[in-house]
């Protein structure tokens, strides 16, 4: 057993560290507004920040880092999953913008796993270049936790499929180019056996979107309506009618690649610094035993989160499917995201409610925001209850009710 990085891994870690310190503005970590492991889009403070984010994406693309773990024949470096995990950890620690996305974290690995060579040729270069972004077309009004109940229907017609139905909670759909969408292709089959994956162009005629404003006041969600949307047959990814099984794999990727584990450590360091520098009612916060214990518990849980994160990468490198383990990681990390926000709010008392910079606002209002944002953590990508079902049924072999 060895919990240290190999020489090669450490070299990559150091390379990333150097790169991030050189290529991001020194005060960049103060710019993005996002709580660790939430499912709300990261916001920035002004236009200039968005510009910095776009420029940074170009730098990552120039390094070919959006495809580091892809096999060489797909233009990648064949880096290990552990190195991919190191990349995700360092980027999230520095709150680096645009360093991973649905396209790079979910769609690309799925294309590499179940896509045809032609599909890989079509999509992978555009993902690696940061040229296209994608949104997840999973949830529907009648299919949330129960994704097997998806009703959006795709019917074959000549060289196309014709899609009709509705998607919801479609995060970032209005800003993206394509959807990674699961729909029903065989309405007569048992529900898990008649679903398929498509890549759907947002510009297709018949797609309309209604913005849904989230509790932070941001336009993050959309309702997406599909009315006779024609999708070319070559955009069906993976085996027809096996989409639900592909979806289970895609969710495993999502639960690993979108953790942003480094963000926990960064946010926690800011919280500890605040506690060290501030007093309430004349007593330094750092001398309050209950605060000390709460922060010690959060620190411990972050360390555990890191271990569970490295474990999934290691399992992938050993050719194992971290199926239950990715649910454990997702459950643990998102519950931690919420706990950390609630603990921070408890520590800050009335100052925690300040949302924007004032003379008394702690940590740029991040905690107030995190208090709301982290509600999404234990709901998105499968609620905590769904993760527990997976652990109990797939992991421990308990019977379905």
């Amino acid at each position: 057993m060895d919990t240290n990085f190999s020489t090669k891994e450490q070299a990559f870690y150091d390379e990333l560290d150097n790169f991030l310190q050189t290529e991001l503005p020194p005060d960049w970590a103060d710019k993005p507004i996002a709580w660790p492991h939430d499912y709300a889009p990261t916001g920035y403070q002004n236009e200039e920040d968005y510009k910095t984010a776009d420029e940074f994406l170009k730098k990552i693309v120039a390094k070919d880092w959006l495809k580091i773990s892809w096999p060489e024949k797909a233009g990648g470096f064949s880096y290990s999953n552990m190195e991919q995990a190191i990349y995700d950890e360092r980027m999230s620690y520095y709150r680096a913008p645009r360093s991973s996305s649905i396209a790079t974290g979910i769609v690309a690995p799925m294309l590499l796993r179940v896509g045809t060579e032609a599909q890989q040729k079509t999509w992978l270069p555009r993902i690696a270049s940061g040229e296209i972004t994608m949104w997840l077309g999973y949830s529907e009004p009648g299919a949330g936790s129960d994704l097997g109940s998806v009703r959006t229907l795709a019917v074959e017609d000549g060289d196309d499929y014709v899609l009709n139905g509705q998607k919801c909670w479609s995060s970032g759909a209005h800003k993206a180019d394509y959807s990674w969408m699961i729909v029903r292709t065989d309405p007569d089959a048992r529900k898990h056996r008649g679903m398929s994956y498509f890549i759907v162009d947002n510009n297709s005629p018949g797609i309309t979107m209604r913005p849904v404003i989230n509790i932070l006041g941001d336009h993050s969600f959309n309702e997406v309506f599909l009315d006779n949307v024609r999708v070319p047959k070559e955009n069906l990814i993976g085996e027809k009618n096996k989409g639900f099984y592909h979806l289970m794999t895609a969710l495993d990727y999502e639960r690993v690649t979108l953790v942003g584990i480094g963000g926990f450590r960064r946010m926690f360091e800011e919280l500890v610094d605040y506690v060290k520098d501030n007093s309430h009612n004349g007593q330094p916060l750092a001398q309050n035993q209950s605060i000390r214990e709460k922060l010690a518990e959060i620190a411990t849980n972050i360390e555990i989160g890191y271990m569970l994160f490295w474990r999934t990468a290691e399992m992938l490198d050993k050719g194992q499917d971290p199926n239950v383990e990715s649910s454990t990681l997702k459950l643990m990390a998102t519950e931690l995201a919420r706990d950390m926000a609630e603990t921070a709010m408890e520590i800050l008392g009335p100052y925690g409610q300040l949302t924007a910079p004032t003379n008394w606002t702690p940590i740029r209002g991040m905690v107030a925001r995190g208090f709301l944002e982290s509600i999404s953590a234990t709901i998105g990508a499968g609620t905590s209850e769904v993760q527990r079902n997976i652990i109990a049924q797939r992991g421990l072999g308990l019977p379905r009710a």
Partner: protein, 372 residues
């Protein structure tokens, strides 16, 4: 990074589990509770014949030269077995303290005996009113030409009645803390058993002006502080391994029971409320296992591990008791009966959770380590 056991450790693990499942059934654990003799000498001998006491003792001192990780493999198996023997204190504490010390003569004298299973020892640290640590030690050792006279009062000394030697900590006026090995047959050593929840035969020990030869001091002053800090890390993580070993079977028993037990016409494991109890247990076992792996591998590699050890002990202590309690909840009334094994695990987990630093103690350590 590699988070799995290596091949040799896997073999050691399999062998240890097989042996203990056969030789240390729960009936033996139950018998040990009321036995008059402080430990089962026959079982101790058989374990010694397997060489377990010497696993992590260097070859030059009669051991096998294994690592701390090798030792945790054995301790974890012992947690599963609820092994009622003075292994932990003899090997993981006193054996380790000797190895960490510069007391070459004592090492040559005692480590081979420990490796052979010919010496039993325990750790007398906690004093009345203390929970752990070395910040409020009242025991004192007064120096003389031939050595010291040590006076002190210690609690929660596991298997003291079985011990040949007790490792203890006392203040030496003007010199700081001293770490001493005391022969239990020495004049002025008194002990009596104190009633506790577990079966570890814990004792109260009094040292009344006990004469301790100078060469029985393992370390003094700064050296003692450094040794005690590392010993604290090792003992905490060792106890974590024991707890991880104990909560895995709690989870396994619970899962197998809820698959089997039917109520309302179906296995209770089909109910989501029960499934979520089991899932929560599984997550806590996992988290305990991995934070313990982190701390244990750092110790094994000779790296600083103060933070990781305190994290592992504070987390696992809490989780182990929670998992054991959920084990009771999933089993229902049968688990409230003496004949059922669940309470053996609850007792073992609780004892381990408060030994070598309880949750509060280690959380405070973590707080210090993160700069608070």
């Amino acid at each position: 990074m590699n988070l799995d056991l290596n091949e040799e450790q896997q073999i050691l693990n399999d062998t240890a589990r097989d042996f203990l499942r056969g030789e240390c059934p729960k009936a033996l654990v139950r018998d040990a509770r009321s036995a008059r003799e402080p430990y089962n000498k026959g079982l101790w001998r058989r374990i010694a014949e397997l060489g377990w006491m010497g696993v992590a003792i260097p070859e030059e001192y009669g051991g096998f030269g294994g690592s701390f990780l090798d030792l945790t493999v054995l301790i974890e198996a012992m947690g599963e077995a609820c092994l009622p023997l003075p292994f932990f204190n003899t090997v993981a504490i006193v054996g380790t303290a000797l190895q960490l010390s510069d007391a070459e003569d004592l090492k040559r004298e005692l480590l081979p005996k420990i490796a052979m299973g010919e010496l039993i020892a325990s750790f007398a640290l906690i004093e009345p009113g203390n929970t752990y640590g070395t910040t409020n030690i009242q025991s004192h050792a007064v120096g003389s030409e031939d050595g010291y006279f040590l006076t002190g009062h210690k609690l929660f000394v596991e298997y003291a009645e079985a011990a040949d030697q007790l490792l203890t900590v006392a203040n030496i006026p003007g010199k700081g803390l001293g770490l001493f090995l005391i022969d239990t047959t020495a004049l002025g050593v008194e002990m009596s058993r104190i009633p506790t929840l577990d079966d570890a035969k814990q004792c109260e020990v009094r040292f009344n002006n006990v004469a301790v030869p100078a060469h029985r001091a393992l370390a003094i002053g700064d050296t003692a502080d450094t040794l005690l800090q590392r010993l604290e890390e090792i003992s905490a993580v060792g106890k974590c391994a024991e707890m991880v070993g104990a909560i895995q079977p709690v989870l396994d028993m619970s899962v197998s029971y809820v698959k089997d037990r039917e109520q309302f016409g179906q296995p209770i494991g089909a109910f989501q409320a029960v499934q979520h109890h089991c899932a929560n247990m599984a997550v806590e076992v996992d988290c305990s296992r991995y934070i313990t792996k982190l701390a244990a591998s750092k110790i094994s590699a000779g790296e600083p591990a103060a933070k990781e050890a305190a994290m592992a002990k504070s987390y696992t202590s809490k989780a182990a008791v929670r998992v054991a309690k959920l084990g009771h909840q999933t089993h229902g009334a049968i688990s409230f009966c003496d004949e059922h094994d669940m309470h053996l695990y609850l007792r073992r987990c609780h004892a381990a959770s408060v030994a070598f630093g309880d949750v509060k103690y280690h959380l405070e350590k973590v707080a210090q380590e993160i700069g608070l």
